[in-house]
């Protein structure tokens, strides 16, 4: 039998128009579910991005509170001789305060009352390769500098992970729940619209329509609704991402959030594909189940 795409599309659009309220419900449901999924994707991408950029950090910092000038010079020389180390910079107490002031330039109340000496002097050890940070940290510990006085990426990553892992798990759980809810809601919406048209379907079957012929317009309907809901949600997610990145640049200057952490194109594709799959799958299954009953 010929597959008459034009006929099926026309039927689908006509059904959407005639059952407008039901279609709006289905589109809105898809929109909300895909939006939640998209926000989940955004958050996890940004966390990944932050972790990635911290990992790229090629420096280890040794804080040296209360250590004398000589000790600093000795360590500077020793560390400079290790092959993993590219360079060593000494940061004095005054320099540390200046850099702190620089970072929080817009929040003067943070540093107004700080004197030189509050922030310890330190050595900034630049590495040849970020992967070597752990081994250098180990050597420094062997030199008698404990964990608290060291700052190297692994620490930050561990701290980040301990905070964000709960958040990410929560988001995943929420996303899964929302996806299940959306599949149920959408298939329910479709079942309702099929139920409203059960007489029509019975008539179609009586005049000799095959199951496929009856089903195809419904599947196209699900496709169009899924595409619309997911498309709108995906665009909203992209827009939210721009807002967030913009906001973080102004308000979270010390957090390395980067717009590039989110691959806009792949987020779009993933969200739209999931939305369309829900629409198409939902209508296919509901119609098939209904057809089996008559």
């Amino acid at each position: 039998m010929r597959f008459n795409l034009g006929f099926f599309l026309a039927e689908a659009f006509k059904n959407i128009r005639l059952n407008l309220l039901m279609s709006i419900t289905a589109v809105t449901t898809t929109f909300i579910c895909i939006l939640v999924l998209g926000v989940g994707l955004l958050v996890s991408s940004h966390v990944e991005g932050i972790i990635g950029s911290v990992r790229e950090d090629v420096s280890v910092e040794v804080f040296m509170p209360g250590r004398g000038e000589e000790e600093m010079a000795a360590l500077e020389e020793k560390a400079g001789s290790w092959e993993e180390v590219a360079s060593v910079d000494r940061v004095s107490e005054d320099e540390a305060l200046a850099s702190f002031k620089d970072t929080f330039e817009e929040q003067p109340d943070l540093y107004e009352n700080l004197d030189s000496g509050v922030l310890p002097a330190s050595l900034q050890i630049q590495l040849t390769d970020p992967d070597l940070a752990n081994s250098v940290a180990g050597k420094l510990k062997a030199e008698g500098y404990d964990e608290e006085n060291l700052s190297y990426p692994q620490q930050t990553i561990e701290r980040l992970n301990s905070v964000t892992s709960y958040m990410i798990w929560g988001l995943y759980a929420a996303t899964i729940l929302f996806l299940i809810a959306s599949v149920l809601l959408i298939s329910n919406a479709i079942r309702l619209s099929i139920f409203a048209r059960r007489k029509e379907i019975e008539v179609m079957k009586l005049v000799g329509a095959t199951d496929g012929f009856v089903r195809t317009p419904f599947v196209f309907e699900g496709l169009i609704q899924g595409l619309l809901g997911a498309g709108l949600a995906a665009l909203t997610v992209i827009w939210l991402n721009f807002l967030f990145v913009d906001w973080s640049r102004q308000e979270l200057t010390f957090v390395p959030i980067d717009g590039d952490a989110v691959n806009t194109a792949s987020v779009l594709v993933i969200l739209v594909v999931v939305g369309v799959a829900i629409g198409v799958g939902g209508s296919f299954l509901s119609v098939t189940r209904f057809l089996r009953k008559i």
Binding site: V203, M204, K205, L206, V207
Partner: protein, 228 residues
């Protein structure tokens, strides 16, 4: 053309719609199935369309044993049987012409063929001026004409009608019966289940009378009731 062989249909242990019924309808015949409500007329129509299966016995349509037709071949079977119902069963969202065209679209007919065929058949049923009207804008008689046009547009070898005049006044009914008669004259086998006494008496066709699931009378050129 249509053969019921020892067919029994029981809906439950106590409700037996047809009991060991034997009937043979030849090609080109015009047959009335008559009887009171619950005598089994509609059950016979639904069995012919394979809307349900008999409890026992076999039904043959066009030489095919219906019980051997798999579910997925039912559409093909139904395309060979035009059907008309008391409640018209038109698609409410389609115009008269679209309703007729739908029966051709399901068979994958080309648009060009549909475009020439639909006006012809609408003309035949006398509705060429109401092609673009939706069912709710048509009278009962007109809706039934549309449904007959839909049943006949693919020129199936068999046309079955279940109480086609059940919702219509006597004058309109005459028109519907004449239409069925004309279709029968093109060689189509027509089976009409009805309790419209007047119509049966006027038409003088074969009458098969049912009572509680059994054939109590089968008469060529018969009347609704036994003639004195």
């Amino acid at each position: 053309m249509i053969r019921f062989s020892n067919v029994t249909k029981a809906y439950s242990k106590d409700t037996v719609a047809l009991e060991r019924l034997n009937l043979e309808i030849d090609q080109g015949e015009f047959v009335f199935l008559v009887g009171a409500s619950g005598s089994g007329k509609s059950t016979m129509v639904r069995l012919i369309l394979k809307e349900m299966e008999p409890s026992a016995g076999a039904i043959f349509v066009n030489g095919t044993k219906l019980s051997s037709v798999p579910r997925r071949r039912i559409p093909q079977l139904r395309r060979g049987i035009g059907c008309v119902f008391q409640d018209f069963k038109l698609l409410p969202n389609k115009t008269a012409a679209e309703n007729v065209a739908y029966a051709m679209e399901v068979t994958g007919q080309r648009r060009r063929v549909i475009k020439t065929k639909v006006p012809q058949i609408m003309d035949l049923v006398g509705l060429s001026s109401k092609m673009d009207k939706f069912p709710e804008m048509l009278s009962g008689g007109e809706q039934q004409r549309v449904s007959i046009a839909r049943a006949f547009v693919s020129q199936p070898p068999i046309l079955v009608a279940d109480e086609p005049t059940g919702n219509l006044d006597p004058n309109t009914s005459v028109g519907i019966m004449q239409l069925l008669h004309r279709i029968n004259r093109t060689g189509t086998t027509v089976v009409v289940a009805t309790h419209d006494r007047e119509m049966v008496d006027v038409m003088r066709k074969r009458v098969v009378a049912l009572d509680e699931g059994r054939i109590v009378r089968d008469k060529v050129k018969g009347a609704y009731a036994d003639e004195v």
